[in-house]
Subunit: 664 residues, 3 copies
């Protein structure tokens, strides 16, 4: 449905970059709330998410409700000009519910029950949980329908972060219904899943179960469909809550916070994005700065380049990694502004005030254990000031880039299934390597779902685009014949949407387009690399590539082993465009030896002065006809922005280590 509605604002108020955090006042005595308000205003906070984990506080027993404290919190915030992104509070069920109804507790593939103690211990498909959760949503919506302080609804929280994969009998029932809807007849399912293999042919949908613990390798299409189903089961919960909210409070936009970050993969957010008014995302740094920018760009792609809401990130260290390191000087501001550069119109943290107790007490926050007289809070104040200088950006789309990287949840799920040529392949890693290689070359890129409109992109990269249905295959062929430049990597175009191999030689879906044919995959051992004629080395994967069209050009050949002399990177003109293939993993550095040729042939040039390429990331937002450029220092050294002309909204031409300038 996605209406592209943004936070409600008082009539006539200009839109701005919002700033705030999750706010959990129920963890603190009443006197701290006044202190909170004072510090929020001092820091420029104008929006907070409230009540995310408050179910037990709002409904202390099945037949008892307590909204008084929440009334007071919302009134207090509203009176002080701070908008409330109000959670539906269904993220974690209270103890009385799981005591009375242990049948809402999820079960692992091994049949073990997941008990309370942490959070999110509910089956997405439990009718009992659903009934109780929706009752709460209904109560909340009714109570606050007319409160002017509510700027948006925050459905649940990080849906599926923990409970995405439930193998209970509830899940089994829902999975069967989902399969029936997808396949119609059991024969079609049997064909799609290849159940002629290993005596798996089903007589009816009733015989199907989730892929619980089994011997050997469970049916791969069953696994793939279970991943799809699990995403849909959570989306179904989102929709169920949203429908109540839309019915009772049609004027309040609805969102839910995605988790586009790192290897988190349980939800097809490109699909989910259609169900909410604006996209929200949580992001925590786990793999360095480029991953943050990549995830932000993907969030923007998922949001179809409309502005989105950064619902959570951290001011400094988190608590859930093995070793949790605080952020260094400038990183707090740099990370936040990188999100804004890639489309965020709100910058929020988990959480406002650092907990004194509980599992997240060592997670940083806007107000640390040390209080306001701390380096972190001072940086929080500084960022609040900088955001005000970026208000011209608010509401603007991210500017389209010359290059697109395709990102596809089906291929992610399917390419990393078991019983493959190598279990070392990481789908997202390949996309991220291309992202970094493009940053190194000073070229901007978008990260797009496969249903995106590709017209206008000079170069489209398909990293490990493993699962290619006929429709996508045709669209990509059209894109190339119409003048586009497509680069596919190893293990792309191998199967269709049922994980059935495109026969006749690899990559079946792209064989004709690329003019090549591969008979066998040749994954590399751990630590093994293979040389290329262009002076770099591949790892993870290699292939004997046969050229089957006359007009294929070899851009790089293998130099080692059985493959010596064979094509490693190819290029073929097709129609008005061209299709290229990279048959090994080169990593971000190795791709640097291939990219210049690809970019040049596709007609893509860096928008940065030569000395800044690689050291500075450029991201652009387009406010009307104003292109506002974000220049982000990727290095730990100072950088001088020679050649960057315009008005400096933030920073100046001398970027400190990890610094950001915004030129509009």
């Amino acid at each position: 449905m996605q209406n592209h509605r943004w936070l409600r604002t008082p009539h006539g108020t200009p839109r701005r970059i919002s700033y705030g955090a999750d706010y959990n006042p129920e963890q603190w005595p009443r006197e701290v709330w006044d202190e909170d308000i004072r510090l929020m205003k001092q820091a420029g906070v104008d929006v907070v998410s409230v009540a995310i984990f408050s179910w037990a506080a709002l409904q202390p027993a099945e037949d008892r409700w307590d909204f008084a404290w929440l009334d007071e919190v919302i009134d207090l915030l509203h009176a002080n000009g701070i908008g409330v992104d109000l959670a539906t509070a269904t993220a974690s069920p209270p103890p009385w519910l799981t005591t009375a109804h242990p049948e809402v507790l999820p079960q692992t593939a091994d049949g073990a029950t997941v008990w309370p103690g942490g959070r999110q211990h509910w089956r997405p498909t439990s009718p009992v949980f659903r009934r109780h959760a929706l009752a709460l949503v209904e109560k909340l919506a009714a109570r606050y329908a007319d409160h002017p302080g509510i700027v948006a609804w925050h459905v649940s929280n990080e849906l599926g972060c923990h409970n995405a994969y439930d193998y209970s009998d509830d899940a089994a029932r829902a999975f069967r219904a989902w399969l029936q809807a997808r396949y119609g007849t059991i024969d079609r399912l049997n064909h799609a899943w290849g159940t002629a293999f290993w005596s798996q042919r089903y007589g009816s949908f009733d015989e199907i179960r989730p892929p619980r613990r089994s011997y050997a390798f469970p049916n791969p299409t069953q696994q793939l469909d279970f991943a799809r189903f699990s995403s849909d089961a959570l989306k179904d919960h989102l929709i169920a809550e949203r429908e109540i909210l839309n019915r009772i409070t049609p004027d309040i936009p609805v969102t839910t916070n995605f988790m586009i970050m790192g290897e988190t993969r349980h939800a097809d957010y490109a699909d989910w994005a259609h169900e909410i008014d604006f996209v929200s995302n949580d992001h925590y740094v786990t793999e360095g700065r480029d991953e943050l920018a990549f995830s932000a760009a993907l969030t923007s792609g998922v949001a179809r380049h409309r502005p989105w809401f950064l619902m959570e990130h951290s001011t400094s260290a988190v608590n859930w990694q093995p070793i949790n390191r605080p952020k260094r000087t400038n990183e707090l501001v740099r990370d936040s502004l990188t999100h804004v550069a890639h489309g965020a119109d709100a910058v929020c943290y988990f959480q406002w005030r650092q907990s004194a107790a509980g599992a997240e007490k060592y997670h940083s926050s806007m107000v640390p254990h040390g209080g306001e007289d701390t380096r972190v809070y001072r940086e929080v104040e500084r960022l609040g000031g900088l955001l005000r200088r970026l208000d011209p950006v608010a509401g603007s789309d991210r500017d389209r880039s010359p290059v697109a990287i395709l990102f596809d949840w089906d291929s992610w799920w399917a390419s990393e299934l078991d019983s493959h040529p190598t279990d070392r392949l990481r789908y997202r890693r390949e996309a991220l390597d291309w992202w970094t290689a493009l940053l190194n070359a000073g070229v901007r890129a978008d990260v797009l779902p496969t249903d995106a409109d590709l017209s206008g992109y000079r170069l489209v990269i398909a990293p490990v685009l493993y699962a290619v249905p006929q429709g996508l295959r045709a669209r990509l062929e059209d894109y190339v014949r119409g003048g586009g430049h497509l680069v596919a990597t190893y293990f792309s175009g191998i199967v269709d949407e049922d994980d059935r191999v495109w026969l006749g030689g690899y990559p079946g879906a792209f064989r004709e387009l690329l003019g090549i044919r591969v008979e066998e995959f040749r994954p590399l051992w751990d630590g093994e690399t293979i040389g290329l004629s262009i002076g770099v080395r591949g790892d993870l994967w290699s292939e004997p590539v046969d050229l089957v069209a006359d007009d294929v050009e070899v851009l790089a050949a293998y130099t080692d082993d059985d493959l010596a002399g064979g094509p490693a990177v190819t290029w073929r003109p097709v129609g008005a465009g061209a299709a290229a293939y990279v048959s090994t993993r080169l990593g971000a550095d190795g791709l640097g030896a291939v990219l210049p040729t690809l970019l040049e042939r596709a007609g893509v040039a860096s928008e940065l002065p030569e000395p800044l390429r690689g050291t500075v990331e450029l991201a652009v937002r387009r406010a009307g006809d104003r292109r506002i450029r974000f220049l982000i220092n990727r290095t730990d050294d100072a950088v001088r922005l020679d050649g960057i002309e315009g008005e400096y909204l933030v920073g100046g031409p001398d970027l400190p280590p990890r610094g950001v300038a915004v030129v509009g």
Copy 2:
């Protein structure tokens, strides 16, 4: 029972080396079957295994049977001269069965149920499964009893590959019955298991359970007996199917495919071999070429040196290892002929045509995804031609070697139990190291069960022969006194068949024979080695060896640490023979420093010209009085077979890398 019957062949047809694969036509549309027949004939295929995983196709519901497709397949194959090794199709139960009877699903030691999704999800001891499986066998046997195309029965498939260890209540009942049969009285069990320890004394057999998850170390003899029981429970299933087949189709030989490969150890195949007409084996390369040859020699030993059937191996990559690499040039042919060299009279693959879907779609096959225009299919054709030149070998026994390596499932199971001096010891590794060391020395060896007749062997090696019952102890002493030469390694002769220590000093069973005594084991740390006076180093294990007989000769002494100067390798003349001891792990290379002395004293010389020793493996089959020699290039370089005289059935004196010549 083992009748040494081979495949049925039309009357008067000379026996040949059979060639083929698992054939799963139910995975493909009917039109592909004709293509299959054409390609099979083109490649020289004359036998295929059919219906291995076809239960769900043959019996789509409890009360519905469908043999029409199988009738057609068998007729089609037979009409084209391709014999059918017909599976009993019981390897994996269909979904309807596990839906109606979840009580057939196995349980782990942790109590978790193993669900459908993969394969072989049935309890070997389930009466419900047994009843349904035997009904299917009965149906199949009756239907095809008179079909001339059936050349053999293929019981189940890789029995116990996944489901060998089931801890369910069915298993508990069967285990108790097995124990009652073994021990007769609970007192004898209590003594054997040492239950005076840790308050484990049983009052009756009813109190016994499988070794489910427990604290500390479960009773070791309970563990050992459970391993024996689990092997027997699967054997019992084999016998139950075989008895039906023998009753209905007395003229059709029965086999089942063993898994003598790598660390697979759940079945005592030396024992199982007595229950079938001919031994079949599946083998996949996981540890390199020597392991393949070793496993083939062990298969031959298990088959008591009668020809055996290579039921499965791969044309190229498998799909179930972490990283799956295709075979290199010549490896397809070399691997197959190595099996033939060690006694295989049939060379078959999993599978004929590479699946388009399911868990094994990336497993190589005779007809790859790329079809017949592929390197793999062309090699398959070439091998088909070579096998025809080896028809003189068919039916011949493997020629006896001068050296024997003992291989014993009891010692394998028992020596690697927990709470031992080191958990790094790998029973099979020691045997394999001796095998490689003998290959390096150019000396042929047999690999034998401990009940084999040792007379005629110049040298018998007992690597980690940990569990030595009194009868074996006496037979080995007789062998030595009668002129044999026995080499025992560390951790041999330590316990009896109940895993009770032979007291008085180690190795209790061999102490008097060897003339040594060890008070304590001294395992080595990871990465630690210990020097020997002969210039090599041991790892894993060391011991203070005391000489307790006057006539013990020290062949090598330790040079390091507390053990410096103490005996490491000893030799003692006993009667007409001698008994030697190696007290540390030397590995294949280190053994090379010890073997020449042992071989020379035992009167064993290499049959190969000096330059070929180590680079070429020699294996011999004896067809009547014709010794047919297989010369297998162990290296990646070309080798010239100077000094090898005779008629070259396959290859010539210039062996390419990984090449094979057969001289008859």
Copy 3:
């Protein structure tokens, strides 16, 4: 209650250092018993523990008892002057009990049942188990109440070694009762546990469960309280048995064997020690000699420096580590005498005679598989002789040291909970590093529970004293102001007894005392180190330390990274004493650069001549006004004890490698 009663001895017999082992005659035929007696007397054994795992032998069925064999054993021992430390035999339930009552079997956090097969498979909170166990205790106590051979009662065995953490419904019930007793009201629990977080607020105690498997991080205070509860549940079992014994046999002292060794942490032995007449301990070497001495000193601290009983250690290798190495020359004697040096008045082994069968057959013993003609038995005899020369030590306390190291189970449990700044922190490691550093400096230390009287100690070290209730905080402040010198390390004084953070800046409990303030923790990556101005490097942890008092002296500053120039080690005079802080992990070697200053300022000097510091450990027992010094060679080289004057009870001035001298 702890009455400081020692073993019963015949009237008028002088107290001596007792010597013996666990004795399991039920594993052997009757004729071996006489041999045992002969060898015991030959070795000087005067006490053995009997019947530890004899439940199944004593009560072969619920309604059948068999004490005849035990009568004979006890009579035999007594007749030969060997005292019997009689076990209550409840350590492991017999098969009939777990067959009739599977509800006594523990359950894991995953819900899996722990089955028989090993040992200690009972729920500490099972009323059924309790009833049967106490019936056995009652029977035993009644039967042997008047037997003069019984010198002590040995309750159960290594209570909780395996079964400490049980998550069953029995455990849930008992946990709730324990919580109700601790907190009184659910509101107080909700506050302590911080359940406002993640919707965890409980409506009643009935809603609480043990921290079974859950998503994310279970509530930390729930985890901490479950650790406390689990220790108390076992203690409750101990008390229940003890009360029966005290009632029936008031004159026989009661003990149970603790497991103060390595990372074993399930029981708060400082608390348990109050419940028994004398402390017993089991110790096995897993981390080298210094850990043995540290554990012995901690045992002494737990015993409030009264003599204790070394119930188990090993003569040589154990069987339960991955690699089990025998002891080297002199280690058998050295290890035993190190325990005596630190307060042991009895030296016993597991076990007397090495088992021929069962899980511990490769565990060394006083009489090895090889019998009496072995190196081990000869050393056992030698030690028996040496102990007689130490009889003057018997009954003496360990002499107070100038330095104390605080050791606290609450901080151990709490500091290593999940979701912390780093999961690499090891509480005990830091204490052990200080211990080693003090040994290296030639300075003796005590290891004390936090409730110990600190007056008289010149220097008190608080390594990672993470959880500091207000009372402890006040006592440590008083100690310092009164002239003491306190050293706290990183991650000390962070939370109170509810694991709630002391707010305002770290370390909240000690901030004012130390005159410092830390805003964020900065754990180090694996392999990363940070330099200090005193020439050593820290790892694991670092912090930006702000000085907030004028009189803080920086003893060492960081030299690297963001922290360069910041304080790393501080010293502040407070009242008549001083408080120091070490903000990184220096390890034993690195601490060597800090300790001299700390010791000098605290007025602590080594009691050893300079050349012996570091090479020799000094430990002192005070028998009346006689100070008996143990000098233990920490090295593998010979050491000459120049400057050590006095009568040599054991050894002489030339210490062999790993040798011990006792000078009294």
